[in-house]
Symmetry: D2
Subunit: 388 residues, 4 copies
Amino acid sequence: MASGEIRVALIGTKFMGKAHSNAWAQVAHFFNRPVKPVMQVVCGRDPAGTQAMADTWGWQETSTDWRETIQRDDIDLVDVCTPNNNHAEISIAALKAGKHVACEKPLAMNTQECDAMTKAAKASKKLNFTWYNYRRVPALALARQLVKEGRIGRVYHVRCIYLQSWIMDPKFPLVWRLQGAVAGSGPHGDLNAHIIDAARFITGEEVSEVSAAFETFIKERPLGAMTGGLSAKGGSKKGKVTVEDAALLIGRLSGGGLCSFEATRFAQGRKNGNGIEINGEKGALRFEFEDMNRLKYYDASRPSYLQGWTDILATEANHPYFGAYWPAGHIIGYEHTFINGAADILEALGKDDWSNLKPDFADSTKTQRVLDAAVKSAKSRSWVKTGC
Amino acid sequence: MASGEIRVALIGTKFMGKAHSNAWAQVAHFFNRPVKPVMQVVCGRDPAGTQAMADTWGWQETSTDWRETIQRDDIDLVDVCTPNNNHAEISIAALKAGKHVACEKPLAMNTQECDAMTKAAKASKKLNFTWYNYRRVPALALARQLVKEGRIGRVYHVRCIYLQSWIMDPKFPLVWRLQGAVAGSGPHGDLNAHIIDAARFITGEEVSEVSAAFETFIKERPLGAMTGGLSAKGGSKKGKVTVEDAALLIGRLSGGGLCSFEATRFAQGRKNGNGIEINGEKGALRFEFEDMNRLKYYDASRPSYLQGWTDILATEANHPYFGAYWPAGHIIGYEHTFINGAADILEALGKDDWSNLKPDFADSTKTQRVLDAAVKSAKSRSWVKTGC
Amino acid sequence: MASGEIRVALIGTKFMGKAHSNAWAQVAHFFNRPVKPVMQVVCGRDPAGTQAMADTWGWQETSTDWRETIQRDDIDLVDVCTPNNNHAEISIAALKAGKHVACEKPLAMNTQECDAMTKAAKASKKLNFTWYNYRRVPALALARQLVKEGRIGRVYHVRCIYLQSWIMDPKFPLVWRLQGAVAGSGPHGDLNAHIIDAARFITGEEVSEVSAAFETFIKERPLGAMTGGLSAKGGSKKGKVTVEDAALLIGRLSGGGLCSFEATRFAQGRKNGNGIEINGEKGALRFEFEDMNRLKYYDASRPSYLQGWTDILATEANHPYFGAYWPAGHIIGYEHTFINGAADILEALGKDDWSNLKPDFADSTKTQRVLDAAVKSAKSRSWVKTGC
Amino acid sequence: MASGEIRVALIGTKFMGKAHSNAWAQVAHFFNRPVKPVMQVVCGRDPAGTQAMADTWGWQETSTDWRETIQRDDIDLVDVCTPNNNHAEISIAALKAGKHVACEKPLAMNTQECDAMTKAAKASKKLNFTWYNYRRVPALALARQLVKEGRIGRVYHVRCIYLQSWIMDPKFPLVWRLQGAVAGSGPHGDLNAHIIDAARFITGEEVSEVSAAFETFIKERPLGAMTGGLSAKGGSKKGKVTVEDAALLIGRLSGGGLCSFEATRFAQGRKNGNGIEINGEKGALRFEFEDMNRLKYYDASRPSYLQGWTDILATEANHPYFGAYWPAGHIIGYEHTFINGAADILEALGKDDWSNLKPDFADSTKTQRVLDAAVKSAKSRSWVKTGC
């Protein structure tokens, strides 16, 4: 395919379903790609909710049966936004049905599932992509660029946090994200996944071994709002929380540096506190998502009396992705990271070459290996090699 | 009209045309209003550019004749995004044709034009609205709310800046925004207009008198890229710059406080530096657009050892507008201010009552009075009453 | 004098008396100057308070008669920290008595007094110095250095604020700083003096003309704590406030740029909010006193995708003054600006050449001319040339 | 002792010798304590350097023999600022000689030494104090106060960093701080000690177990500047670096929370980056030393739409220690933390009761236990209980 349309089926209608719908709706408004998306069908378990999603976002059809959906001849790309325990099954089935697949993160429940997905992807030769959306924050894409330009040099430290607080109230119910069987893990797979991916992306290095501590602060929560959103309220019966509330890691990088990752939903004062700092031989980088239009860069090659953290407002036309949007200083937000992802998918499809579209399943499997090693470490109370 | 569709004609295809197209395309994705917009026709002088705009954004038709467009029966609302010297003529004609009108800021070239527009609006009884988009930054709407709640008390100081730097290069060409006959003024009408409006909006007070200084630092610029965008390059011939490069005002508020406003396109280091600070008897507020998701609030009623500037991330579901978008901490950007404006227009149309939809033409005429008084003051080198 | 001791008489025992005592006590601890200060005598009107000052700070003697003090043979330098209405009389008398004189700012009550002081200084050939202490914040001295190095280029804008809030409570009493006869003015002479001096110092330009607005928000205040400090409480009788509570200026610089200055004691939320921003052709600078160890520098000569405000922590050994203190990152505070001033006085005395010790009386008279022009402008409601 | 003088002997003349000299010289200028310090004798190995120290700071006598010094009848308090490997020997000897002892941190080379010191302290009944100076940053003392007031509630997370970069240049020589036999450890004992102490101080909890990673990035360094300061340069011969360059810890708190500590001298861009964040049930706190006059406090008991991080400028008269210094907003610096320590020592001596003067040797031994457990963990690659 070098031009024309790509017909998308979206599987999943919650938070990520909304973010992806917006991406498909908006991408052609800002990016002039040879391939244009068609929002063909949205698929969810709840017929009414799925119809509402279609009505709001302009999906042409709805479905409650993903198996049927992925077999349709009029679908080219399956976009998977379901809870984590369905990622592997749906993605593999879609690939086998000859569809391109873009899947939400974390790629799967564990490395085994990821490996199966990667294998299916390789067999199919179809486009396969994992939505680690923060790679496409302009400021973080710029961070990657600066590393590639040699401005950081040998990496000594990578320090990542992803701090939230939305479940701190003990009355917050036992939603699917707090159930191990559905979510796989808590903030570890939800948030550490993001920052491990970001560290790998920016530095180009792998995390080779980790030591981890997990903790569940609130052991039981009200039942009765199993599919509820962030403001859902539970009933008076309680069930056991089967995921961690916080997960801390220290580790080593393939280049010899040290790294740390902390994910929690119990960081009072933090809403979406995704932060990263990289300290290298020649320079350093800092980023906080809540100020996502900024990258802080310390250039140690400058005369020492002029050195300092430079606050780059990554909103110039020559910054990654930003040229598609608005004049300098007119900032963009969270949702644009998904639009940028869709733009890169369309570009790859237009070139009929997705070998450079990252992270693909193989790439994001390495993030999963780190996640799995950390789970093992937390249980064994010892260091665990990731195999990366 | 209590439900159904509102058919929009957009007049203008440049920067604001893009921002408004996005607003009309996105509003129903996030806001569930009884009235939905239909992107009926986009109108511009350049047929090819206008067609490209329609193709990109989904306008159903194009036109190069605004006079014809505003007379069409299948148009309910005319959205005016042309250069400033056409605002009055188009808006008045559209109102006379029985259309609702939403017009970009500054409302017109001067108070006389504004008065004529207000008169036409009153005669028509149609919805009339001025797109001072920063009123709909959630953080600034929250600022207004805090003032209304009595948290600031008597206002002693309002301190506003709007600092840009995009024309500092002397080779930047003489585009329409630098020509007095088309633009009316330079950063005064472009940027001071915004911050005067914001000060009026948040405090609920008027600017009663001003003293101003205007300056044109680069007196001549290359000709040849008259309609060019920000990165346009001119030729070797030069023409006279007939607008100011910077405009500073000091003034008095109707409640007895002091105020200042500074607009410039020569503030090296500043991209879209729209900032406001209000110091009152009981509290204070600070805002900077490049961190638009934050409002800083100083609450002088707290115990003194706990007082400080509280950095409110205005991204909670109970903050103005934000509930329509994403979970807390997942920030929005510049373009959302226009989506919020469109949402408020649709709500007013749905209720068939736009008496509270502000700023209407009458309201934004008061901003124009301040602008005009400042022009007069800069020439007379003395204080000038605004009549507000 | 090329080495040895300099015997100091301090006139004044309040806030500035403390700051200067600390400077003389500390300077030789950090700076190895050939001349060392001897804290010979402190002079105040209140015998008990003056004795307490001597006991605390190690002044060898006390006096309640400044006229006698300045005539003593064992005094080399008179340091004047009295209320503003005594600066001229004491300084001139001391110069005539053959003493070096360091005088607090503002230099005097008006330009006439300043001129008389300058005349006396020239006649005496003695060291004369005005304690505009913020010139010796390392970050601001660095700002001056960057301008001198040509890193800013033509100056388009200077934007200064000095915002406090300590008299906002209407019950705060009518202390001497609120009485025109003693203080000369309110925040205008107290705070605008500082930022006008800073603007002149950093840019090397003069303020050529101004338009000003003054306001007294609280017209009457309790009597009965005339010499009270910041937390003093007045009685039930009230007297008229005879200085302004706030003073705003806009003006023009000798190089063609625009400038603004705002001083107020009614800026809720601001404690000692002394801020300056300079936007030039090639770069820009920002500073806020409450983060006084930092200078923000925007270097427009960098590749555009790397441009941003660089937050220079001015605590390196090669930053002005800082090498005398602590390792990088171990910050200093307000009091060190006075120590740095004392160090420069001692260095000038050691070289027996104070021609480069600035600001001397002639230099700070230019700041006074701007202050006086603003007073005139506020009364005449028109622009006034400063004569600088 | 209830009033009068306390005669101090300072052992050590380098960086900490300077900081302590300043504290003893300044404390009576700002704090009116019944007991005043006399700077009796300074003791160092290098006679010339020690004499210079005495001349600069006003120590009445010098000595090169600490054993003799601590036996002198005219010494009341011994202040130990030597390299870490002498702390225990000198402190114990001084206590046995009947002197009060204030010792720099880390208290000793290991827990065994600390226990011996604590035993000697208990036997002597003399004042014993460890200079963990950051406890006496006003903002951190305020943090402790807020925890005590119940404003944070159950502590879920403590996140500490202490990031420096002064030895990143591979040519930086093998000074004593890089030699295990003298320094005991690298940034672990130097910097982690500080932040572990701060975490214990503010939360009132202990660190119960840890997992650690240590790394030495530059394995060999030039010899020849063994006692050199920060800017020392070594020769061409190299020796082995026997301390770590970076030390990361994750751990658990006695109250069930998670904690992390990171100390490094390889954090490009960071000078003295001592930071702490505490997230609790009811509130949260943040602090960074380079902005040491500020404490950020998140109050989760406020209405949700007003919540945010409040930036408390801890410079009010009712903030800890600050009332001794300057008016609000006139900030203090690094050196004041030692002055505050000296003030607390004098107060305890004045009351003849040092039971509340913390950290005493027993208290800081608990910090040492955490340090030792981390060393053990780094070697064993497993979790280690601290015994606290």
